[in-house]
C-alpha cells in the first residue's frame, strides 16, 4: 500500500533526554522529515522490528511477511551516552542484523572524544554530530538517505515480484512501471555510489565535527 510513492524520509531519533528529543524532532521536521522519537536503544530496536536475539531472521512473527518493519525507517539518529544500551551498542546491533544493516546510522554526542568518534565510524556510522545539533548538520543527512532510497527501490522491485499473488494484475503492473521508471533514473547513480563504497572504511571521516572549546 503506497510503497511506490514515498516522498518523505522517515527518521528514527533515539535519545534519553527529553529536551534533546524535542530538539531533534523539531530540527528533523523543519527539514521535512517524518520523525519518530524513542527514549532508549531497546525501544528503537523494538520499533525497527528486531527482537533482542533475532539477528538473522528478517521475518519476525508480529510483522507483515514481506516488509520486516511495520513502518519503514530510512535513517536512525542516536545519542551516544544513554543508560543501558548506548548509541554504540545500538549501532552494532543494527549493523549485525541482516534486515537492518543497510539503514544509515548517525551518532550524536555532547562530548568530543576522537577515539569515540573513530570507533563509531569504524562500526559503520555514517556521521558523528556534536551536540547541540544544528540544522546545518542535518543537511549532511540527505546524501545518505538518497543512497538508501535507490537501494531500497531495487529490493522492493524484487519483493514486488514475489508479492504478485497478493495483488490484482493491474495494480501490480502500475507499481511495476513506476518502479522501473525510478529504477532507470537511479540506476547509474546507484552504480556510481556502490563503486564509491569500499568494504572497509579505514579513512577517518570527520564530517560535521566542530571542536567545542
Amino acid at each position: 500500500m503506497g510503497m511506490a510513492a514515498e516522498s518523505q524520509f522517515h527518521v528514527l531519533a533515539v535519545d534519553d533526554s527529553i529536551i534533546d528529543r524535542k530538539l531533534i524532532e523539531r530540527l528533523l521536521k523543519t527539514s521535512s522529515y517524518q520523525v519518530t522519537t524513542v527514549d532508549s536503544g531497546s525501544k528503537a530496536l523494538e520499533f525497527l522490528g528486531l527482537h533482542e536475539d533475532d539477528t538473522t531472521n528478517p521475518s519476525t512473527p508480529c510483522v507483515s511477511p514481506n516488509n520486516h518493519q511495520e513502518v519503514e525507517v530510512n535513517l536512525v539518529i542516536t545519542d551516544y551516552c544513554m543508560p543501558g544500551m548506548t548509541g554504540y551498542d545500538l549501532l552494532k546491533k543494527i549493523k549485525e542484523s541482516s534486515s537492518l544493516r543497510d539503514i544509515p546510522v548517525v551518532i550524536m554526542s555532547s562530548e568530543n572524544v576522537p577515539s569515540r568518534i573513530s570507533r563509531c565510524l569504524e562500526e559503520g556510522a555514517e556521521e558523528f554530530f556534536l551536540k547541540p545539533v544544528r540544522l546545518s548538520d542535518l543537511n549532511k543527512l540527505r546524501p545518505h538517505l538518497m543512497k538508501t532510497k535507490s537501494k531500497d527501490q531495487h529490493q522492493k522491485q524484487e519483493k514486488q515480484e514475489e508479492k504478485s499473488a497478493f495483488q490484482s494484475p493491474k495494480q501490480q503492473q502500475q507499481e511495476k512501471e513506476e518502479h522501473q521508471q525510478q529504477q532507470q533514473a537511479s540506476n547509474n547513480k546507484r552504480k556510481a555510489i556502490e563503486e564509491g563504497l569500499s568494504p572497509e572504511r579505514t579513512r577517518p571521516r570527520y564530517n560535521g565535527i566542530t571542536t567545542v572549546v
Partner: protein
C-alpha cells in the same frame, strides 16, 4: 488570544536579547528561536518548560546525593551534572552549562565544600533565568 501570544513571543525575544548581552544564554538559544514558526508556535516555551522541569529533578537528585550522611555518592552527582550539562547546552543556557563543567571537577576532586557553595550560587542563577523567561 492571538495578541497575547504575540506579546508573549515579543517578551521572550526581548528578554533573550538581554540574556545574550548578560550572558545567560548563548547562540544556541537563538537557534531554538529560529526553529519556532507557525507550525510550532510554542516551541521555545515548551523546550524551556522541559528544561526547568529537568533542572528541578536533577538538582533534587544532586541535593539528595550530597546530603547522604554515610558518604556522598559522587558518581551519582556526576551523572546528574552530566545530564544537566547536556540539557543546558541544548537549550543554550550557557551559565548553567559552565557551572556544570566546574561542578564536575569538584566531583572528581570529591570536594564537598566547594560543591555546596557554588551549588547554592547556581540555584540562585537558575532562579534568575526562571523569573526572566517567565
Amino acid at each position: 488570544m492571538d495578541i497575547v501570544s504575540q506579546l508573549q513571543r515579543q517578551f521572550i525575544d526581548y528578554s533573550a536579547s538581554l540574556h545574550h548581552e548578560q550572558g545567560f544564554v548563548d547562540d544556541q538559544f537563538t537557534q531554538l528561536q529560529k526553529l519556532q514558526d507557525e507550525n510550532s508556535p510554542d516551541f521555545v516555551v515548551e523546550v524551556a518548560s522541559l528544561f526547568f522541569e529537568d533542572c528541578e529533578k536533577l538538582i533534587n537528585n544532586m541535593a539528595r546525593a550530597l546530603e547522604q550522611q554515610q558518604g556522598v555518592d559522587f558518581k551519582q552527582v556526576d551523572a546528574s551534572v552530566h545530564q544537566l550539562k547536556g540539557s543546558s547546552s541544548s537549550i543554550g543556557a550557557v551559565r548553567v552549562k559552565n557551572v556544570c563543567i566546574s561542578f564536575r571537577s569538584f566531583c572528581e576532586a570529591q570536594n564537598r565544600e566547594g560543591w555546596s557553595n557554588s551549588f547554592l550560587q547556581q540555584v540562585d542563577q537558575l532562579n534568575n533565568i526562571h523569573v526572566i523567561l517567565w
